[in-house]
Amino acid sequence: MEKPQTIAELASMVRDTTGPIVPRGAGLHQAIGNPAHPDSTVVDMRALNVVSDYIPSDLTITVGAGMVLGDIQDILAVNRQWLPWDAPQHRHATIGGLLASGLSGPLRHGAGAPRDWLLGMHFVTGDGRIIKSGGKVVKNVAGYDMHKLHIGALGTLGIIAEVSFKLAPLPDADESITITGMSIEHAHKIAYVLRKPPFNPSALLIEATPHHIRLWARWQGAAAAVTRQVNIARARQPIAKPATAGSWDHLLNTPFSKSHGHAVQLRMGCAPQSLESFYPALQAIAPNATFHIMPTVGLMRLYAPQMPDVAALRAALLPFGGYVVVEIGEDPMRWGPVPANIAIMHQLKKAWDPDNKLNPGRYVIE
């Protein structure tokens, strides 16, 4: 295990290593994707944990990739700021690891994806070059947005070393409700009602387990505006119950808790308008699974003790332009059909990692 203290050390370590390299943050999401090459050198990124630039009045921050997301949020909260990104296990996971794993949560409905907040990056290529992409200011069109290529790429295109983000003011109020006891289709319909003006929610999630189906909705912003929305929602849905901000963390983290014992994690996506027609098949194919569905984003995760019939899920989702990825669990068809433009992706991998050192075989791009 290597533990570089600076980006320069990371780069020279990559240059000097001849075999495969696995970048690793807190190690919480190493199970995602194909298994790492057995002869890999693991690079522990957690020493790159410095805030290199944070001027609160600029509403931007630059941090080492080894910093824990929750620690960054703590620093920001002092100035009533935050990064509106609710990734699972954010109290322990590093920002570089979360970016590389492509993890985010239900705040995507209102705040967009981490991609929309990421301003720039330093990454290290397979031949040990330190590359800068983007910058630190909120608007910047100088050069290609190469930093976006590393999100969800499992460290195969470069090692994320330092990242700059734009920030948001912490909302004055943060209120949530849950509604339990309906079909997924009905929960979906309510979610869409709760999205229509006057509603402007920050997050919407359908949690479907073998035991219950529950819709979660969250509003953040000026206190009076949040109160009005929650009041209207509760008047229209008398069975709605209030929920705390902490319950969203709990919800996101539960599938990762040891006691939960979920051996399988699937990511599924399709254009949000197509989701509704997909729900009946979803439950029929995987009756023992727990689903987290972001109905307005078009993103779902499935957690289950055993592998469901992935081929059947694909057969139901692919006609709508969707996909199914086996994030955790054994499956020979982990990624599904070969992505369009795989040839360009292969060339890119070859250009930036000519000796195929960075997490070889881990991702859909070999």
Partner: protein, 488 residues
């Protein structure tokens, strides 16, 4: 001028005409003149041929034919760009998207629209108005610039302060690659496996391929909008107000500044009600839910009073709001009253450095004896120093370029960048080295080659390329006059 086709292009024109029809292949000098410039003032180059295809298949056919003949290929939308992105620096074939301007589909459930690249920006939001949805990116050129061009340049606009720049609003693109193949780069299903190629296509200034269809995100219209005009007797107070608004956690929908001579020029031209003797005015727009607007109004009133604004006006109705905005959006053209020629920059600084950089701008203007008016996106720290001059004055172009370079370099040294929304194009290509190392530029060149190994798509743009593209400054044909239709 000869009205004869150069013999070396006869076969090419014949093949292009066979693919898309004779009337859509332009080659006579008088036809080509319109395509030799864009909204940037200093760079001009004439294409050899212009084609105006109507479909993705026709674009692909044109690209195949042009690439086979070894011709550079340059896409062009509304021609309003401000960095020379659509100027055919190395000649070649210009592909105009002028006949591809339709809205193909609106999905009010998904809140998306599928459009052709030649669609004018404002036409989309007008089209989607019945659904109470709009396309958020609103470059000041929006009445003339196209969605395809906005995507190529990753355009901004006043409202991207709150809603983000174009890249966050593009969900999918059909792209014709350099070999004439057609591919869909689609993020409508979020987080699909594979690298995020759409992330690099948007903002690639036509160097990776030509976008022939786009799926864009539509935003719900806000419940309410409130627009303020804050008037200041002192530039520092105005820029301190901007920094304070952001620092106190108010993200307005837009936060724009006009300063110095620009105010009087705009007022005389547009009659938006700006006081002629003000040193700086801020146009502040907030939107959202009524309660949010009420809370933010109180904060803005407090901050403006603290920094001793002379007056804080509120637009009482939509007509007054449009009037206040007309001053901002018509600002560049209004400045023609001061001098006939212009050069516009697009640097960005961290927002806490605004006061400092505006002072420097005034200092540079005095030293280089150039009029500089700042009309810009203050909330983003995105400056638009507008250099105004008359090219008949000896040495003025050199002084203007020197002034512009000094300001841009100061932006970089303050931790900012050389372009916030106008793109690099030809104009800022050589300044990329101020920001990026040789290794950074190597990574960009490598990436570009993965899409276009022969370098036929918009060559000589964005990345410093060395000798083959010649020296920009010597290629500059001289500034052109400010036209009525020019925007920043």
């Amino acid at each position: 001028m000869p009205n004869q086709l150069a013999p070396e292009y006869a076969q090419l024109v014949h093949d292009l005409a066979a693919a898309i029809g004779t009337r859509y292949v332009l080659w006579r000098p008088e036809e080509l003149m319109m395509y030799e410039y864009d909204g940037s003032a200093l760079d001009m180059a004439r294409p050899d041929i212009v084609v105006v295809p109507a479909t993705t298949a026709e674009v692909a056919a044109c690209v195949r034919i042009a690439a086979t003949a070894g011709m550079p290929i340059v896409a062009r939308g509304g021609g309003t760009g401000l960095s020379g992105g659509s100027v055919p620096a190395a000649g070649g074939v210009v592909i105009s998207t002028g006949r591809m301007s339709k809205v193909l589909q609106v999905d009010d459930v998904a809140r998306t629209a599928r459009v052709q690249p030649g669609l004018i920006n404002t036409d989309l939001s007008e089209f989607t108005a019945p659904w109470h949805l709009h396309f958020a990116p609103d470059p000041s050129s929006q009445k003339a610039s196209t969605i395809g061009g906005n995507a190529a340049e990753n355009s901004g606009g006043p409202h991207c302060l709150k809603y983000g720049i174009t890249t966050s609003h593009i969900l999918a693109a059909t792209v014709v690659l350099a070999d004439g193949s057609i591919t869909d780069i689609d993020n409508t299903a979020p987080d699909a496996p594979g690298y995020d190629l759409l992330g690099v296509i948007v903002g690639s200034e036509g160097t990776l391929g030509i976008v022939t269809e786009l799926t864009v995100r539509l935003m719900p219209n806000p419940e309410g909008v409130k627009t303020f005009l804050a008037i200041f007797d002192d530039l520092d107070s105005a820029s301190d107000t901007v920094s304070a608004i952001i620092a106190q956690g108010v993200i307005p929908a837009a936060l724009e500044m006009l300063e110095g001579q620009g105010i009087a020029l705009v007022e005389q031209s547009v009659h938006a009600g700006y006081p002629l003797d003000a040193q700086a005015v801020l146009l502040i727009e907030i939107d959202g839910m009524h309660e949010e607007i009420a809370a933010q109004t109180a904060q803005i009133e407090h901050i403006c009073a603290h920094f001793e604004a002379r007056e804080l006006r509120v637009a009482q109705d939509e007509e007054q709001r449009k009037k206040l905005w007309s001053g901002r959006k018509g600002a560049l053209a209004a400045c023609a009253r001061l001098a006939p020629h212009y050069h516009i920059q697009d640097g960005v600084v961290p927002r806490s450095k605004l006061t400092e950089i505006l002072r420097l701008t005034r200092d540079v203007a005095k030293r280089q004896r150039v009029h500089i008016v700042n009309i810009f996106h203050a909330g983003d720290g995105n400056l638009h120093p507008l250099l105004l001059f008359d090219i008949r004055e000896e040495g003025i172009i050199e002084r203007a370029v020197a002034a512009s370079e000094e300001i841009l370099l100061a932006c970089v040294n303050a931790g900012g960048t050389i372009s916030g929304e106008h793109g690099i194009g030809i104009e800022k290509r050589d300044y990329m080295k101020w920001l990026f190392s040789e290794d950074d530029l190597w990574a960009m060149r490598q990436m570009r080659a993965c899409f276009d190994s022969r370098g036929v798509m918009n060559p000589c743009k964005l990345i410093p390329t060395g000798a083959s593209c010649g020296d920009i400054k010597s290629a500059r044909a001289g500034a052109k006059a400010l036209a009525a239709g020019a925007w920043i």
